[in-house]
């Protein structure tokens, strides 16, 4: 599902950001290239989710600029680790929730519903459109959440570890699906899995330290979704080494 308008890039600048007394970011600048997927990789607690929230405008304290100079409001979609489906709405009604919340008129709503049906077909949930979320498996719910993110049809998509709660097989399938459906959009995907980042990202950035610093962009060869061939796995091992080395704690202490 290609976006209607060409997706702009997003530049994020954080002067200083402290959370619960800890200085998380200082002089941090993140550039999301237009129409590409950027994967942000780092150990837990480093502030990946916080950075994503800053990008989404859920937290104040960041200067956000779109590369086309237009305002950002109404151009961002967000997908969290948990599916955040409303349990009292059917899958289809969950998909068009954004339109209802914005008070869309009947015409717009009908178009959204049409789009929702198409996307449910794409994520393989067409049969379950009328089901309630608790009647679905975890993988199905996350697929519905992905479809909801796409129904919004925003050029910029921010994803906060959207696949980390899933089993390995379901995760693999959903990664392929997401890469395909998000093509052409500017995407920031936060993950703690180097392999996921390497499979899906046009660019992979690492975030580590306190205050957190961004590593230089890593651009694996080929187009995502990449298969996990030996070269990619070697890269994964290197990334893991690097990340583990940065925040190294004396391993012998615990043992």
């Amino acid at each position: 599902m290609q976006p209607v308008e060409p997706a702009p890039g997003l530049a994020l600048a954080v002067e200083r950001f402290a959370f619960e007394g800890r200085l998380l970011f200082e002089g941090l600048a993140l550039e999301l290239p237009a129409g590409r997927m950027t994967c942000l990789l780092g150990p837990s607690g480093v502030g990946k989710s916080t950075l994503l929230r800053l990008a989404a405008g859920l937290l104040p304290g960041a200067v956000r600029t779109a590369s086309d100079g237009e305002p950002l409001s109404g151009r961002i979609a967000w997908m969290a680790q948990s599916d955040l489906l409303l349990p009292w709405l059917t899958v289809e009604d969950n998909l068009i929730l954004g339109f209802r919340l914005r008070g869309a008129d009947r015409e717009v709503l009908r178009a959204a519903r049409e789009r929702a049906r198409v996307l449910l077909e794409r994520v393989g949930l067409a049969e379950r459109a009328r089901a309630l979320p608790h009647e679905l498996s975890g993988g199905m719910r996350q697929r519905a959440a992905l479809a909801r993110t796409l129904v919004e049809d925003r050029p910029i998509v921010l994803m906060d570890e959207p696949f980390s709660a899933l089993d390995a097989i379901t995760r693999h399938r959903l990664q392929e699906l997401a890469a395909e459906l998000l093509r052409g959009r500017t995407v920031l995907l936060v993950t703690h899995s180097p392999l996921e980042a390497l499979r899906l990202g046009h660019e992979v950035r690492t975030l580590e330290g306190l205050p957190a610093r961004l590593g230089p962009p890593l651009r694996p060869a080929g187009n995502p979704p990449r298969s996990a061939d030996p070269a990619l796995l070697a890269l994964e091992a290197r990334l893991l080494e690097e990340l583990a080395g940065a925040g190294r704690e004396p391993l012998g202490v615990a043992a």
Binding site: R53, A56, G57, L58, S73, G74, I76, A77, W78, A80, Q81, S82, D83, L84, L85, L86, P87, W88, L97, G98, R100, L101, R102, G103, L132, P133, H134, R141, E152
Partner: protein, 250 residues
């Protein structure tokens, strides 16, 4: 077997009651045996039912008005910070007042008829409904609110389409409590001053040593309260079909 269990318990208790009456030979104006109560209920059914109708109307009106007022108050408290800081303390202090002590005043102000009993039921229902619903409205999972914000939702839409439905299970608990205490409000109101209703009939029968009639009225009141609770419970089960815990406490 499980469906029969309440019936078995009831039968057992009735048998125990009958046995105590037979064993102690207590005079019927102190403790009438169940058989006698049943006969009285049968012979005076018209009288008991007429009074029961009055009480039922008081309870239903009280429940309806109390729930509406409670729900409206909770919504106001959730929607406006100013309302919260001014009204919430008043609400809490008002609960420190024993509602029963207000009954004579209500009869004085609203008269012997229906309004004072309905007011009594409303007073007793109002707080549990308001407190439970308001609590539910405050505890909307953070993730849903953040999602709504990124989607560009209007605040009114967040309240109606996210916070209110999310608070329905909590509202339901408040309503169940309300359904259980509403009959108390109505009957206490009748005790203080009335010319109709099961509370009036019980007081009247008690004064004339017609203890069997008192028990018959009590029985009908119990049945009414049980039916009401069941009806409310059924209704809520239809309204809240999802598991009460959010799938992910995000």
């Amino acid at each position: 077997m499980i469906r029969l269990r309440p019936l078995l318990v009831a039968t057992g208790l009735l048998a125990l009651w009958q046995a105590i009456c037979l064993a102690t030979a207590v005079p019927p104006y102190i403790l009438p045996d169940p058989w006698r109560v049943a006969r009285t209920l049968w012979t005076r059914l018209d009288l008991v039912l007429a009074h029961a109708a009055t009480t039922a109307l008081e309870i239903l009106l009280g429940l309806l008005l109390g729930t509406l007022l409670g729900a409206a108050s909770a919504l106001l408290l959730a929607a406006s910070r100013r309302a919260r800081i001014w009204v919430l303390p008043v609400l809490v202090v008002s609960q420190a007042l024993p509602v029963f002590a207000l009954a004579p005043l209500l009869v004085l102000w609203l008269g012997y008829g229906l309004p004072s009993k309905v007011a009594m039921a409303v007073l007793i229902i109002y707080f549990p409904v308001t407190a439970a619903f308001h609590d539910g409205l405050r505890r909307t999972p953070q993730g849903w609110l953040e999602l709504a914000r990124v989607m560009g939702a209007r605040p009114a839409a967040i309240l109606w389409r996210v916070r209110v439905p999310a608070a329905l299970p909590a509202f339901g608990s408040g309503l169940r409590v309300a359904a259980a205490v509403a009959p108390i409000g109505a009957v206490v109101g009748e005790w203080v001053g009335s010319s109709a209703g099961l509370g009036y009939l019980m007081l009247h029968a008690n004064a004339r040593m017609q203890t069997d009639l008192l028990f018959a009225s009590l029985l009908v009141l119990c049945l009414m309260a049980l039916l009401l609770w069941q009806a409310v419970d059924r209704l809520l089960r239809c309204l809240v079909v999802w598991p009460s815990e959010p799938l992910h406490p995000a």
